[in-house]
C-alpha cells in the first residue's frame, strides 16, 4: 500500500518510540515497525524497555513498557538518543517518556486513556493535554485511538475488551502512515500469527491497522510526513537478532565447527536467562542444557562437561559472577576450556537488575584470588554477540582456558539486522585431544601457544588427575617454589599469547591525531556514531576504537595511543577500562562515565569530545 497524499520530508534517519502500559502491546508493535523498516531496507537498531516488575498494576508509572526503533538511510548503530516521534498510549507513558522527546518532536497520544483515574495513577495533577505549552513545544496529535479502533470494529463479534486490545495496531498503522511504510509485512505477520487459530482476531487487527493508516490518508490531522529512503546495505541474507539470541547461536555454531558437544548450564538471572532459554530450544542440534541449583553448580556442571570432552558454557550476570569466581580459579589452574558469559546489569549488589551497566570489567579481569589470568572478550553489538561467542570458543579450545565474555543488558535485549554468515566463512576451531598410545604429560605445553593438551576420560591409557593444587609438568602435585613461580608465569604467558591470534583492531578515523576515543563492548554504537558524526563535520583529528578483547589487550593498541595527544575513555562505569589503559600505557587517559542504568547518548559523547578537544 502506498500513499500519495501529503508530501514527504526527506530525512536521513528517525527515531520512533512506542510507550504504553505493559498490557498495551508496545513490544509487539515496536517489533513490527522495525521488521517493516528492514524490508525497505533501512538500517535499524532497537531498544525494548520493560518495567522492572513482572506485572505492575495497570496504568501506573511502574507499569510502563516501551520500545524504541531507530531507522536510517545510512548505517544506524544505536537505537537513537531521543525519539523524533513518541506514541504515548496512556498518561503514565507520557509522564515517563515525554522528557526524552526531541524538540518539536511528534507526539501521538491516545487521548481516550486520559481519564481522571489514569491521570492520578500517573501522578498528574491536571490533564497535560490541556496545557497549551505542550502544543507549543511539540507537534501534538491527540487521537481517540481506543474509540477509533472500536469504531473500526463495529461489525466484529469480538468482545469490547478484545476490540480495545487492537488499539496498538491502530497506533502502528497511523505511525506507518507518518513514515510512509508499507503495511504488507505487518498484515502477513498478523495472518501468520492468528490467521489459523483466531481468524476473528487476525481480521480485527488488520482492520484496525488499516484504519490507523487511513486516518492519516483521509484527514488533515498532520501536516508532516517523513521519508527515510533506502539505505546502502551490504548484500546478503539478513535476519533480526538480539544479543542473547546471537550468543546462543554463536555457541551452537562453535560447537558444530569444533566437533565438541555443547553443554550449557545456567541459573536464571536477569538479563542472562534468555541465553539458557534459547539454547533449551535447540535440543535437536545436540545441545544439552542444565538448569542448575545455583550459579556455582552451573559453572561446575559446565566445567565437568569440558573435563569429559565436551565444551561447557555458563551465563549469568554480576551477582552470579561473584558466585562463579572460585570455580573460575579452578578452571584456570586445571587449564580446561570453559566459557563464562556475564551479561552485565546495574550494580552493586542487586542494584538496578533490569538496567544496563558496564561495571563488571575489573571483576572479570581480577575478581578471583591468586594470580588467575582469564581472557576477556566483549561483543560490541547485538549481532556481534554471535562472533564474540564463536571467538570465545576458539580461544577456550585453542588455549585450553576459561574465557569470560562480557556482554550487557543493553545489547543482550537490543536487536539489529544481522548479515547471516555462511558456514564456510567461519574458521575451523577444532582442537585435537592427546593421542592414545603417546606418553601423556598433562601440563606439557605447545611451545608457541603455551597451551597444554587435553586427554579425556574414556581415552585408553591417558588416565590422569587434575585438581586445584599446583601441579608440575607431569601433573603431580608440587609444592616446589620454583615450579609454582614457573607455572604462574606460564599461565600468564599463555593468556598474553592469545593476542597474536585475535582479530585486528577496527579503527574509525586516522591513525594519528589529536584525540583517541577508546571504548569497549556495548558502547560501540554510541561512540562510533558520535565520532563518525564529528568526522562528517570535519573533525578528522578524532579517531575511535572499540576493544573487543580486554585481556589480552590488542598488541597494536600501545602504538595507536602514542599517535594521539589525548585519550578519552567513555564507559558505563566509573572508569574501569581507563584505569587499565593508564596503568598499561602510562597515558593520562580521561574518563567519561555514566552510571544511570542507561546507554550513552551520541550527543553526550560528542559534547564531551568537544570539551576534551578544547581543554
Amino acid at each position: 500500500m502506498s500513499s500519495s497524499t501529503s508530501a514527504f520530508q526527506e530525512k536521513k534517519a528517525a527515531v520512533v518510540r512506542f510507550a504504553g502500559d505493559s498490557g498495551d502491546g508496545m513490544q509487539v508493535v515496536g517489533e513490527r515497525f522495525s521488521d517493516t523498516s528492514v524490508t525497505v531496507p533501512n538500517s535499524i537498531a532497537t531498544f525494548p524497555d520493560y518495567p522492572a516488575e513482572i506485572r505492575a498494576p495497570i496504568g501506573t508509572i511502574a507499569g510502563v513498557s516501551a520500545f524504541q526503533v531507530h531507522f536510517g538511510a545510512q548505517t544506524v548503530l544505536t537505537p537513537g538518543d531521543e525519539p523524533d516521534a513518541l506514541v504515548a498510549m496512556n498518561p503514565a507513558a507520557l509522564a515517563v517518556h515525554l522528557d526524552d522527546l526531541a524538540e518539536a518532536g511528534l507526539l501521538i497520544v491516545n487521548n481516550a486513556s486520559f481519564t481522571e483515574d489514569n491521570l492520578k495513577m500517573a501522578k498528574f495533577e491536571s490533564n497535560p493535554l490541556d496545557d497549551p505549552e505542550l502544543r507549543k513545544k511539540y507537534e501534538v496529535l491527540d487521537i481517540d485511538i481506543s474509540g477509533l479502533a472500536v469504531e473500526a470494529l463495529k461489525d466484529s463479534e469480538l468482545s469490547m475488551k478484545d476490540k480495545l486490545r487492537t488499539k496498538n495496531f491502530f497506533a502502528l498503522g497511523f505511525t506507518y502512515w507518518v513514515y510512509g511504510r508499507p503495511l504488507d509485512p505487518t498484515i502477513n505477520f498478523i495472518n501468520d500469527k492468528w490467521g489459523k487459530k483466531l481468524p476473528a482476531v487476525a481480521d480485527a487487527n488488520i482492520k484496525v491497522l488499516k484504519a490507523g493508516y487511513f486516518l492519516g490518508e483521509t484527514t488533515e490531522i498532520t501536516r508532516n510526513r517523513y521519508m527515510i529512503s533506502r539505505a546502502e546495505v551490504a548484500p546478503g541474507i539478513y535476519r533480526k537478532i538480539s544479543g542473547n539470541e546471537a550468543l546462543a547461536l554463536g555457541l551452537i555454531a562453535g560447537a558444530r565447527k569444533s566437533g565438541r558437544e555443547l553443554t550449557f548450564s545456567g541459573y536464571p538471572i536477569t538479563p542472562a536467562s534468555s541465553v539458557l532459554e534459547a539454547l533449551a530450544g535447540y535440543k535437536h542440534f545436540g545441545v544439552k542444557t542444565v538448569q542448575a541449583e545455583d550459579e556455582i553448580a552451573a559453572i561446575g556442571v559446565a566445567l565437568g562437561a569440558s573435563f569429559a570432552g565436551g565444551i561447557g558454557v555458563t551465563a549469568t550476570s554480576g551477582p552470579g559472577m561473584c558466585l562463579k569466581s572460585e570455580f573460575m580459579g579452578l578452571a584456570c589452574i586445571t587449564e580446561l576450556p570453559l566459557i563464562i558469559m556475564d551479561i552485565q546489569r546495574g550494580g552493586p549488589s542487586t542494584g538496578l537488575p533490569t538496567k544496563t551497566e558496564q561495571s563488571d570489567l575489573l571483576q572479570a579481569l581480577y575478581g578471583r584470588h591468586g594470580e588467575s589470568p582469564i581472557p576477556v572478550v566483549a561483543p560490541n553489538s547485538p549481532s556481534d554477540c554471535f562472533r564474540a561467542a564463536y571467538d570465545a570458543m576458539r580461544i577456550a579450545l585453542a588455549y585450553n582456558t576459561p574465557v569470560i565474555l562480557l556482554s550487557d543488558g543493553y545489547i543482550a535485549n537490543g536487536s539489529e539486522p544481522w548479515n547471516i554468515p555462511s558456514e564456510e566463512s567461519l574458521p575451523d576451531i577444532s582442537r585435537p585431544l592427546a593421542k592414545e598410545g603417546d606418553p601423556y604429560l598433562p601440563y606439557k605445553r605447545d611451545p608457541e601457544t603455551f597451551a597444554r593438551t587435553q586427554a579425556i576420560p574414556g581415552q585408553y591409557g591417558l588416565e590422569h588427575r587434575l585438581g586445584g593444587l599446583e601441579k608440575d609438568e607431569m601433573g603431580a602435585i608440587s609444592y616446589d617454589p620454583s615450579n609454582h613461580q614457573e607455572m604462574t608465569r606460564l599461565r600468564a604467558a599463555k593468556v598474553e599469547a592469545i593476542a597474536k591470534s585475535n582479530p585486528e583492531l577496527i579503527i574509525r578515523g586516522n591513525k594519528t591525531g589529536k584525540l583517541l576515543v577508546i571504548g569497549w563492548g556495548g558502547t560501540h554504537g554510541a561512540i562510533a556514531s558520535a565520532v563518525d558524526g564529528l568526522h562528517n563535520e570535519g573533525f578528522d583529528n578524532i579517531t575511535s576504537v572499540n576493544l573487543r578483547h580486554l585481556n589480552p589487550m590488542p598488541t597494536e593498541l600501545g602504538a595507536l595511543i602514542k599517535g594521539f595527544d589525548k585519550v578519552l575513555v567513555p564507559e558505563l562505569n566509573t572508569g574501569q577500562l581507563a584505569m587499565i589503559i593508564r596503568s598499561k600505557f602510562l597515558v593520562d587517559a580521561k574518563s567519561m562515565n555514566k552510571v544511570q542504568g542507561r546507554p550513552f547518548k551520541v550527543t553526550e559523547i560528542q559534547e564531551r569530545i568537544l570539551e576534551v578537544l578544547k581543554d
Partner: protein, 342 residues
Amino acid sequence: MSVQPAAPPEELQRKDFITPNDVRWCPGCGDYAILNSLQRTLPDLGIAREDYCIISGIGCSSRFPYYMQTYGFHTIHGRAPSVATGVKVANPDLSVWIITGDGDGLSIGGNHTLHLLRRNLDVNVLLFNNRIYGLTKGQYSPTSPEGTRTKTTPSGSIDHPVNPLLFALGAEATFIARTVDNNPKHMVETFKAAHAHKGVSFVEIFQNCVIFNDGAFDDVYSKTTREEQLLKLEAGKPLTWGKDNEKGIRLNGLHPEIVNVAEIDSSELVVHDPNQESPIQAQMLANLTYPDFPTPIGVFRQIERPVYEEQVADQIKAAQEAKGTGTWQELLHGKSTWTVEG
C-alpha cells in the same frame, strides 16, 4: 607419566588401580581401608579402567582421586556433585564416583548433594563421615554430636548434627546405604551394590580419623561392640542382630521397638525390604540411632526412577527424531529473513 597398558576389564586387578604417588594420609587413617576396598571393587565391575572417573571436593578424604590410577578430578570444596553432573551429562558411559567428606558433602556442599540426589544421576557418592574436619585440623563438622569439643567449640558444639541418611531420604535419593571402614568385606559388597544400582547411590561410610576424632565410632563398631550395636540389613531378612541374632525389631504402630526374638512370633519382626516404593521403612531405619537402637548398616533403600543424564539424552533423541539434527541454515536463519541483493 607414560602410557601403561591396562588389562582388559575382565582381567583388571587391584594393582591396576594403584598410582605411583605416595599416599599422604596419616598412618592409621580409615581412608586407607576405604581406598583399598574401592581398589578391590573396581576391577570386578567389568568396566575398562579408562572409563572410571573419580571426582572429589576438598578434605582429607577428597585427596582420594590422586591415589586411584583412573581419571580423576580433585575439584573445590563442596562442589564435586556439580562437576560430576557435568561429566555424566556430557558422557553417560563413564562410571563416576564422587568422594566427599562430612564437611565437604554436608556443610559447604549440602545443597549440591541434595540436588544431585533428587535429580538421580547415575553416579555413586561415597561420603566419608569422620564427624570432623580433618584437613583443616580438627574443627567440628555438621555430623559431630552435640557437645563435641574442638578448637572452634571449646565449650562444646551446640548444633544438632545432620543424620546423613535422613538427609538423603529428605532428598528422596533412590539408593541409600551405610558401611564402615573397619569391614572391608561389607564395604566391597556395598560398593558393588551401589554400582549395580541404576541411579544415584548414596553411601555413608563411618570413617575413623585417628588424629582429630579417634574412636568416634567405637561405641558401635569396635570389635567388642559391633555385635550388640550393628544391625546388618539384608533384603528379605527380618531385622535381627546380636551374637546369635537374638534381638529383633517389631513395630508398635509406626514405632520400632526392640524385642527378644525368642519371646515373640518371628512373623512379628519387621522384614527388610529396601525395594519398596514408599520411603517409610527406610525412614524408620534411618531414625535408629545409638544408644537407644542398634545402628543399621547395609542398603536401606533401592528403588527405580528415571536417570537424569539418560533423560537429557532421550529428550535430545526425541527432538532429533521429530525435527532432524538441524542444519546450518535452520540454525542461523531463524523464523524470518530478508535478502538484500548485491
